[in-house]
Symmetry: C2
């Protein structure tokens, strides 16, 4: 118990200093570490194993919907980046520039990709000629670089891992359908796998992606009530295709520009996992995404037969869940703490007395509830508890999200909510940038999204009182 306390004492309490608590978890759960390059993180084995599980499940869903993986060059010539006006304005200030190859100065500087719309379009121009070549449904898993001023592991780093889908379609309708489909793939993945409920909607023009006609987003709420933009899906119309000269001969024998989408989710979502489910004892991982779902911990392992039995149990539970054993010479208390710190959903304690009685103890990470289970009942009990952890984490997060959505109809109400009630705020908006800026500057919240199919809560804009165009979710955001 002394060990146990020691490890937990090393992390700041979540309610005392949320930002410090977050950093502590990232370090102590060995998810990521700082590197010698400003703003670039090292994704450690445990963090990377979570990313691999995210990749595996999403990649399956992408392929099921007809997408193919490719790999595009990581460097983009400056002239290519400049082909689409809004895009270059959005990204040029935050790219890293390669100016020399070996000892030679390059004739044109190259940026490390901040995103790859330009290189995909440049390639599509070469391979799309006829309606038969459409749709093109490409995706790539890679890292990208954005030279951010302030960085935090996972949430905002100069380099991060992500996937970026880039597709071309014969018609705008098809492209919009794709944009929606991909947002839905992200949101069902977040809800089913990560147990993170999200609000889906459209970004305002101010918040949309550089060069896009429309950006769809899913916004999750963190434990501190702040929003995390968790994945986005963009519809570009034919703007990029025109700028890059991507053309195809349609069935009616006329030359047209295809319509484009792009969509991405990044290692940022691991930050979301931490901040939605974690607690003062460390990380809490939903079983579906946990690299290790159950840890076998032998108690009094020096006693004859204990380790043998523990390995035997490990082998058998490994058939229906991802299990590991901690047979190191650390104390059981220390092992318990480590399991909690790493958010392993279930631990299985097995000592000489348990073996005598042919049973063991299961302890849930989320509720710390204990179960005394006969060894021959593990096969039904473990999957049952894992399933229950998954759904109860989701329900808890959903309750936490929906109990903290507040409606505001006046600026005074809005200010009161912003200052005193961490969470999302719903308010009507006229559609003008001026009012959006006023919410930012005077109330201190940014527009998160205009939710799909939302009922208006009043007829007038919260700022100017003119006719409202849409309901907006507002909030403080990461």
């Amino acid at each position: 118990m002394a060990d146990n306390k020691k490890m937990v004492e090393d992390i700041t309490s979540r309610d005392v200093d949320f930002a410090q608590w977050y950093t502590d978890i990232v370090k102590k759960a060995e998810l990521a570490d700082y590197s010698s390059v400003r703003g670039c993180m090292i994704v450690r084995p445990y963090g990377y194993a979570i990313w691999e599980n995210i990749q595996k499940e999403l990649d399956r869903r992408f392929k099921e919907t007809g997408h193919e993986n490719v790999y595009m060059p990581m460097l983009i010539p400056e002239s290519l980046l400049q082909k689409e006006k809004d895009h270059v304005e959005g990204f040029a200030p935050e790219v890293a520039w390669v100016t020399h190859g070996g000892s030679e100065k390059l004739t044109e500087r190259l940026c490390v990709r901040p995103t790859s719309e330009t290189v995909f379009c440049d390639h599509y121009k070469d391979i799309i000629h006829s309606y038969r070549d459409l749709p093109k449904l490409y995706n790539q898993w890679c890292s990208v670089m954005r030279w951010e001023k302030t960085t935090r592991p996972f949430l905002r780093t100069a380099e991060f891992l992500w996937q970026e889908g880039h597709t071309m379609h014969a018609t705008a309708e098809e492209a919009i359908q794709e944009t929606e489909q991909m947002l839905n793939i992200y949101s069902s993945f977040a809800e089913e796998f990560l147990a993170i409920p999200v609000i889906k909607g459209k970004k305002t023009d101010k918040e949309k992606f550089a060069g896009a006609e429309a950006t769809y987003t899913m916004e999750a709420m963190m434990h501190d009530g702040k929003a995390l933009q968790s994945a986005t899906s963009h519809f570009f119309g034919d703007g990029f295709a025109k700028a890059f000269g991507v053309e195809f001969t349609d069935k009616d024998n006329t030359l047209k520009n295809p319509h484009e989408t792009s969509w991405g989710i990044s290692t940022r979502i691991i930050g979301g996992l931490i901040m939605v489910h974690g607690d003062d004892n460390g990380l809490v991982l939903p079983p579906m995404i946990a690299p290790t779902q159950l840890m076998v911990i032998p108690v009094m392992q020096h006693k004859e037969g204990v380790l043998d039995k523990a390995y035997e149990v490990l082998e058998s539970v490994n058939k229906y869940c991802r299990a590991k054993i901690d047979a190191s010479d650390k104390t059981p208390g220390w092992k318990f703490s480590e399991c909690e710190m790493k958010g392993i959903p279930l631990r299985l304690e097995l000592g000489p007395k348990d073996i005598e009685n042919n049973k063991c103890v299961l302890v849930r990470r989320d509720t710390r509830e204990k179960y005394f289970v006969a060894l021959d009942e593990l096969e039904t009990k473990i999957p049952e508890i894992l399933k229950d952890i998954q759904s109860s984490l989701y329900n808890k997060a959903k309750e936490s999200l929906y109990s903290r959505i507040y409606d505001a109809t006046t600026l005074e109400e809005a200010k009161d909510i912003a200052d005193n009630k961490p969470g999302f705020m719903r308010a009507m908006w006229c559609g003008e940038l001026e009012c959006e800026m006023k919410m930012k500057d005077e109330v201190g919240v940014t527009s998160r999204c205009m939710p799909f199919d939302a009922e208006p809560i009043s007829d007038t804009c919260i700022c100017c009182g003119k006719k409202a165009k849409s309901l907006v979710f507002w909030g403080k955001a990461y």
Copy 2:
């Protein structure tokens, strides 16, 4: 048949111009394409699917042997690159330098990683303290950049995809064992999965990796008799650990530097696949690595029932092999050619007459042999033929390799072999750089490796006549 000829006529014959044949295959089989950045390729869906199969199998073998995946920053500060003298000398001339972030000039320039020994060591210094922290067995899948003058898709590109393993061990013995183990994983993978036989051995000091104590390699022979260095595994001793200050307290309570290894295989191996198995009709893929192992091609698909039956057959064969259907409106002849160009191991032709007789035609890509098979026998016949293709491709490649290894004991013999007999040359060597350079400058071959456990073929060095230290495989190389 006209279609068929047309497509094949588009590729240069392998024996007329091997280099052009190679480029034609890369383009026509849609494996890769050129990009707007000099020397950087676009890996297209079909090429990337091959890479994904390579990754999947190797990653499984890495994890089975206790390795964990991580992700390190892609940028390396110049000061970090310079910490190990030999290493920086080897790589500095060929790195791409980032000098600006956004509009600001960086205080220290950063290179895009050409390899990551330096960043791994920098991290290991922070996380290795005790013998309990060893071994560390890390690997990463990423892209690296080397600013090459002359480039060719897959074989030599400015940016390429690879994996790089970097491990730390308590003793030199353990590290050497790891270096050997990883070379063996590569070679068994190459032989079992890619059907590429290899010669394993140690590199000479001249050819070893910058900063390594020893480099192990596997060398494959291409159709034109030239060598392709296909994977390498390096033992570093404690040189990097010392340069980077990586230290641990050993069991005997003394402070020591751990011993390091690194090992990698890259998209270059896809070039090997092309050049070992391909022929004048296109790519030839071993079934184990082929993204599509069997293509169903309906014949006279406009006739009632043909497409339905073809999809039914597809569904059933998909249970035991990776199958697809080409139900496009192209002619069967064109589809056959495409299948051959893409090296799909088996095609299944199904027309109205076949359906009437409850049978179909299977055609092997490698030998073009035809089999008339009853539909209810496919389940035994297809796996049987795929297995046979796999082993006969391997046997053919092995025959091609071992029938072209020539022994030389005098420089005249060596020159004759180098000029007239494409393949590998075996000759004894004294161990001096001068003689190695003489082989290069006068004979026109480089040392490929000193094979493990080889019987000497004479007592004296082929160049200087002094006492020979080892047998060397020499050759022209990619």
